[in-house]
Symmetry: D2
């Protein structure tokens, strides 16, 4: 922590600042430059709020040097393996998680699960509990949906990801699903983060639409601190002034995260753009800039989807997306590119997940 | 709902769009302009998602005409009275809710409650459960804090507002507090909104830092739909590119909300600016543009606050804020300005709240 | 400038950083904390770009301590007097600059100038050269408009403000107007800033819709550096995700600027909100938070205005705005509030401006 | 244009709205839905401002249907050929424009030009006139720089792109350069757009950091309207709340533009991210989502660059960028991928450009 003092501060007052730090158990060093008087705190201040320093008399401003998410920055997560052989992260190639926004019925889900499997997806997504901006919109089938997801998973061999929004939903969902999703609206819901941190299932943590990269990592830190190392980050668009797209997909955040942490990073081009015609190009871009995979909303008849139908693509388009992102990954990683891809196109025997 | 068709659409295809609408039970009318073919849906579409229309073959884009938060726009809430005679909203003059970010101890809280009472506050705020961006920060005293809040309320006569973040916290808090606060991080937490909507206590609903005005109203709609009419909106800054202030306090949203709804609107200049020196001018501006009151963080020794100390003001500054906003309100409302202000400066007998 | 070194840097490399600084003619001091190695540059680095330091081998990041706009922060401008006795800034009370977005004709302008004078305005604004987002929109009458402005000024005694967008327009406008306006679109047009800095007329500098407070001050610095001290800053809304208002009027920037600089600060609620029904409340808020005045678009028949008619108010509404902001200013400054207000309501003899 | 009337409007008032439209020479049709009264204007309203309609008595709001940049949307620009055989746009593969932010000297520029040529660049960029946020920064060598650019172009055969900021700079630059760049700060400088629109050289138009996609197209429209069809758009990052990156590179805008217009679209990852370590991944992503090329800042010794050194890459890194984006383009376009790439690696005979 570096403390910049007010420019006209007398020596006695400078000493008083150091003394105040001393009372907090902190040692410090004064540095005088041509224009400023600085006090550098020499001890670990990662657990101190900045106002402890900024509100001391005579302080002009305070600059933090230390990071506040040490676990997220040093996590040693080298790929997160699933029962069906898919690996999320670790440079193992693009993992595709696909499925409907909401589970709308048994037939719909099982049919779609088979189709996304055939199209090349590695995991199945589907909402059982839906947060919706308008209270008049469809809000999910709940437990019924979880049973269908489990059944679809057994038929296709695809592990299942589904969103949870409360401790109760975690408990209900746990027997049915393989990965908990924390949605963008709950990235700042720290109680919920701690709860999923106490489970031993992988967590897909989506960036809030107003969250900085640093805040996303701090939310991951909440989960990691509870002992759950299986955190996967997901960029899904931030809110900006641009209205042509639903959000602004921040792919430079993906590239930046890959230089900062070893946690896997996925991209959700469906929410990121809100426009079906942009899913293909932005999926390609995501993999090209280093994302470990994609989270894509797929529906058989988007116009009849009960939620988010405006951005869903069909299984046919998904097939093209998978082909294109594999092409890019292999072109950029000629040797090890197909290490983990199981042959798509055939539905395997039901597997115990 | 107005449907703009692709420009080159043949007549048969136009008819097909109308037929599709018909199958949805909707009547429509085709309008041909010099440059476009439009289909206007004549029935109520407030409960239809836009993609039901945008994904029909031949549709270029869709424009919604009807609002999605009818209750919030027509709510007839003319001032929300509290046991101590304070009235939030209804043009009854500035209500000031003040107190520490977090309840840190019995002595701290009771002393501060007395001081904010003396300074002229009408309700007491204090966090029992704290959401914190960094997991290493202080996260509240929980039940203990609630008991102190109740005690401080009995001593000062000030009703108590405190934030809840889960159904469980609602249940624990209910006997101790007079108003539930939904924090900015939970404005999109629809499960929680429904839960507080089922209680019969007033709700202070804070705008999320990335929420549009329309989304704030939709979140209010969730609460209103459950039958709880006592919703108070609160502007507390939105996230923009400006970094000098913690957030950008959007006072035009306040002025706009006052033209759209009768729900009371408060302003939180503490979170809105994150800078103590801006609390006074922005409090004045809030009341001048029509806000019904203020939510202000106060601390005796801001440098020693366990949370958000960088933005707290002292009780002395609060006194000046109260004086200034009353001056402005009275200057703008010469006749009825002191209808609801009880004399500040003396601590009344403990009241049963 | 504080240089944070990479954590694992050997002593020899630390020395190499200091040596590199030495070659740049800079002395420095190494400070070792429990977690970091810092190098503090002791000399004046206000004229050094940060990359000079950040790209040295072994450097992790760089934190600037010194400001880059010394003149703007220390300017001693205590109120800017105009020929008609109006004073902009210096705490002398709200100055109102009003007039049409564009000068549309002689009759229109003179009539409107008389009306805004009667309504209590202190200066007249009117666009001769109009920047327009759509190339199909009306773009101003040019020289003809300037002549009408001069005439209206002589009739009403109101000094005239008008926007210039090129060196050529500065030259053409100079004989006709009393204050140059640099529009939001040109705040980053440094060539133009230098040009107006070389004139000796007051400059109204509007904040760009994407500019931080620091950047606004840096643009002012360009003008001040050329020797022109008569700079007036103007907040006119920044671009955010909110679409209900045309921009987000950032009044906390006004309050913040008043703590940072003595340059006068005006507010333009017309562009700031883009909605006529918000002009009154936001004008009140602007003065309440410390703005030195207002810049307001007025039109006789807004629906027939050739530009920006959607946000103009009528002279009648302006009258109410003036009354309200004077009421607020006087209530907050009981003694000296009417120091500079000349009686409104009568049109004086033509004055030589 | 669709006009939504106030809900309680009497029939006579509805007729009055239609009559007002009639006086403007516009025919209209009333449509009554279950909740609203609409008036659809049947004639071409692309040249009408919305306030002409929104300020008519009884009007609630107005929705525009027609586009305001017809030329940009229908431009038929199929690749922009340069003297050295490079083609910008038309799906001809990634074009790389590279060079220093500022021209700093003859030796520096010629050496760098040779190096970017060898690394595979197709055009040379270099600033002669520099807009700088801080007035204390280096602002370019002017005419001297233009001469060096011309010389470097003759030696390497690379056509030259350089920024102009005033009509005077256009005139000075014209004999020396092959393409005018309009910088982000001048995207809204309509006078300048018209000036370059009157030249017959290609224009590189950069998106302002606060511009929507629609506004970028409207700025292009200004140039196209003057008869210059050779417009190339460039995404270079928008301003958002994220501070880790200098700006937020909006690649979905690139993908969106490719569905809206045939004008070529480039990406500037240097300004877009402001971080050298992100140039490679974001260059790959840009080409993967459909960009026609890249604009990259290159410097021999970034720590000694006189401007923007914090984001420049070295010629060695540029080589890798070129290789990677070609790999991606060829993988995605197996047949025609090397149509226009001339062999890199050897410096050709000086060519008359």
């Amino acid at each position: 922590m570096i403390i910049v003092l007010q420019t006209d501060l007398a020596e006695a007052q400078v000493l008083h600042v150091c003394q105040t730090l001393n009372e907090l158990g902190l040692t410090s060093q004064v540095v005088l430059t041509s224009h400023h008087k600085l006090v550098v705190v020499l001890d670990d201040t990662s657990s101190y709020a900045t106002h402890v320093f900024s509100r001391i008399d005579g302080v002009d401003k305070v600059m933090r040097v230390q990071s506040q998410c040490p676990l997220a920055l040093t996590s040693n997560q080298l790929g997160l393996p699933f029962a069906n052989g898919s690996i999320v992260g670790g440079g193992k190639g693009p993992v595709v998680i696909a499925g409907p926004c909401s589970v709308e019925g048994r037939l719909q889900l099982v049919e779609l699960a088979c189709q996304v499997k055939t199209a090349g997806a590695h995991l199945l997504r589907g909402g059982a509990f839906k947060p919706r901006t308008s209270p008049y919109d469809f809000r999910g089938l709940g437990l019924e949906a979880l049973k269908y997801l489990k059944e679809a998973s057994e038929i296709t061999g695809l592990p299942v990801v589904s969103e949870v929004m409360s401790p109760q939903q975690i408990e209900i969902s746990e027997p049915f699903i393989d990965m908990f999703q924390i949605g963008a609206r709950n990235m700042y819901n720290y109680e919920l983060l701690k709860e999923v941190g106490r489970t031993r299932k992988p967590i897909l943590l989506k960036r809030a639409l107003s969250a900085t990269i640093a805040e996303l990592l701090q939310s991951a830190e909440y989960i990691l601190l509870e002992g759950n190392q299986q955190v996967v980050l997901c960029e899904r668009g931030i809110r900006t002034f641009e209205t042509h797209t639903r959000n602004t997909l921040d792919l430079s955040a993906v590239a930046a995260l890959k230089t900062m942490t070893q946690l896997p990073v996925l991209v959700d081009p469906s929410h990121g753009t809100g426009r079906p015609e942009l899913i293909r190009p932005m999926s390609r871009a995501a993999i090209a800039c280093g994302a470990d995979g994609l989270l894509i909303e797929v529906h058989n008849e988007p116009s009849k989807a009960l939620s988010d139908g405006s951005q869903a693509i069909t299984p046919d388009v998904l097939k093209e997306v998978v082909a294109e992102v594999n092409t890019i990954f292999q072109a950029l990683n000629p040797v090890n590119s197909n290490l983990h891809f199981q042959p798509a196109g055939s539905i395997p025997e039901p597997a115990k997940v």
